[in-house]
Amino acid sequence: MANGVLAERLENYLEHKTHKGIFAWILSTDHKRIGILYLVSMVTFFWVGVTLGFLMKLEMLTPGKTIVDAQTYNTFFTLHGIIMIFLFIIPGIPAVFGNFFLPIQIGARDVAFPRLNLLSWYLYIIGGLFAIASLFLQGGPIDTGWTFYVPYSIRTTTNVILPLLGAFILGFSSILTGLNFITTVHRLRAPGMTFFRMPLFVWALYATAWIQVVATPVVGITIVLVIIERALHVGIFDPALGGDPLLFQHLFWIYSHPAVYIMILPAMGVVSEIIPTFARRTIFGYKVIAFSSLAIALIGYFVWAHHMFSSGMSNTSRAVFSLLTFLVAVPSGVKVFNWVATLYKGSIELRAPLIYVMMFIFLFSIGGLTGLVLGSLATDVHVTDTYFVVAHFHYVMFGGTAIILFAALHYWFPKMFGKMYYEKLAIWATPFIFIGFNMLYFTMFILGYNGMPRRYWSYLPEYQTLHIISTVGSWILIAGLAIMFGNLIYSLFKGKPAEANPWGGVTLEWQIPSPPPAENFEEIPVVNHGPYDFSIINGNSDGKS
């Protein structure tokens, strides 16, 4: 692109060093470097979680003991849940891709508070270490499940306080990121970048940031209360002291339900970026998608107690929350329809990122639609706390968010690292992932409907066949992921240099060189059209420049 030539002279952010050695990374306040920091640390934590998931599946091969005993299994799913939720999927897309691309997409040089941004990363690392440290301490790792339900979390003798503290610190990190993004969006948009000219990824991050800011403190206080109750025996939740465990569940889910939208909204934003680029046409219903992000963020607050349908709350509550849960599904549906409509009469190039997006639409729809089964009282009371729920949330979190993480990684890889990956290999990984994934998790729907409860170390023999299929699925899935990650890592070193705009995208990040210069823009751009205006490119039939 035109200003690409000009910018060639600029030092890119990987060359531009403010400090020596490792300090060039861990002391840098450049939002791009912080994004990479998150990526690296997240992948590290993440593999711990994956290994635990893999081991859990091995244990499920036979009823009774296969490889570990009950206590170990209980700590496995707890740590697996904590790591995947708090260390991987919640910070996931905002911290990595949000940090890297939000400022670029709105034409800013950095986020509003760069130093706070770096602090968030440090808090993230500290929180993560806290969460994992319990593995190595006297008393053994936490075994409460990632939901920390009282009174078990007050009674168990394992190390609960440390991981709780970790979760609290991670919450702080998440709040600071959210606060930073909101301020950035309000204050640092380039001239002409009105709210309705912002890319939908930015809209999604903006909505997410609001949830981060207003929901996270609620779980923060809940965690603090459990800690002081455990440490000092202040009467708060413990029924022995007159407390009500249901109130803990309310407070916990007041955060943790909106948190699932923290996980999915940014992913939806990425989808809204990738589809127009590869269909080379403007998105269908820009405003509807933008507003549905806000709607999800808002209504997302009103449904938390659908996690408590069998907990003994009032019948009124059950009805109200069931109704509201059904309504929250609608804005997600609207998005799905709009995405599919965006493919209509496009000029579609089927590249790796788009394949992942298609996979996402299919898997997320299954996950979301089974969410309706869970939102419905009659069926939820049967399948709650069974493998049906486990299947649901792996479909939405893994099939939804994590698959989009892969898509985003492929989509923005050339821009972030200035290298191209091997397209063929990237595409080859997808059938493995798709088949493995469905074998692994679809079986869990059947298991759950047949009454196999979750968090079970042992199970009745009649469930074994399905468990075996599921475990084999996990091996196929991991093979697919190994191909995918292997390809990316190899390309990092050996890939061909990437062009500034390999896909023919029109949002701002594609108008600067790959990798981006340290200051992003030599001159702050002036924006005079919407985010997905392909009319210029469509002028010449072969769009690539």
């Binding site: 204050r187 380039a190 207003v214 609620v218």
Partner: protein, 224 residues
């Protein structure tokens, strides 16, 4: 989908471009006071929601244990509570005045008011300390046999009392530390008539602490 609206590129002239740029561009090295304030307010919302969770618990338990709550509340010291309310309200005034003074460039007045605020904060903490230790003296401390022998509702009342006023006191302490830093900045001149956003933001934090107390006070001390 029959009537596709095809968007046309809006051509923009070179002069228009620079015109826009001059109007809207915010060079990023410059300090952005409004941005900082937005950040601060967002942070205050998190504090609001943090205490919100506690108030929610309070509401639920109060409904469940109305009688016990009234009994337990009557044992709190209303005089000290009222005194502390007045102290905090006054500290809010001095805080606001300190900002008002620096806005007008009156550094000395500003410093004096800030000192007063810190003084009031300290007074609040001292009173709180006496209140708590008096309670402890009567054996009413978390997990003490005296407290555990009381009805469940009273145990919970004190659980809420200690955690809510405790967390609030923690905020007073943090606020005090922040204000001490501001004092140093003020004396050094890095807070001045032209750049006082730091002081303003600290003020916002301080007022929030006051705000929360405004609700804690009737909920714990005025139950009859």
């Amino acid at each position: 989908m029959e009537n596709p609206e095809i968007s046309t590129p809006i051509a923009i002239s070179e002069s228009e471009k620079t015109e826009q740029a001059r109007h809207l561009s915010i060079p990023h090295q410059h300090k952005d006071a409004i941005g900082a304030k937005i950040g601060m307010w967002l942070f205050l919302f998190t504090e609001l929601l943090l205490f919100g969770g506690l108030f929610l618990l309070y509401m639920a338990y109060r409904l469940q244990y109305t009688k016990d709550f009234v009994v337990a509340a009557s044992e709190l010291n209303l005089v000290l509570g009222t005194l502390n309310t007045i102290i905090l309200l006054t500290s809010s005034l001095t805080m606001a005045l300190s900002i008002a003074a620096i806005q007008r460039g009156k550094k000395k007045l500003s410093v004096a008011m800030l000192l007063a605020t810190i003084g009031f904060a300290l007074a609040f903490l001292v009173i709180k300390y006496f209140e708590w230790t008096a309670k402890f003296h009567h054996g009413i401390a978390p997990n003490s046999p005296e407290l555990l022998s009381k009805p469940n509702g009273e145990i919970i009342f004190y659980g809420m009392y200690y955690s809510m006023t405790g967390l609030h006191a923690l905020h007073v302490i943090i606020g005090m530390i922040i204000l001490l830093f501001m004092l140093v900045f003020l004396l050094r001149g890095s807070i001045s008539k032209n750049d006082y956003i730091k002081l303003e933001n600290s003020g916002l934090y301080w007022h929030l602490v006051d705000l929360i107390w405004i609700f804690l006070f009737p909920l714990f001390y005025l139950l009859h």
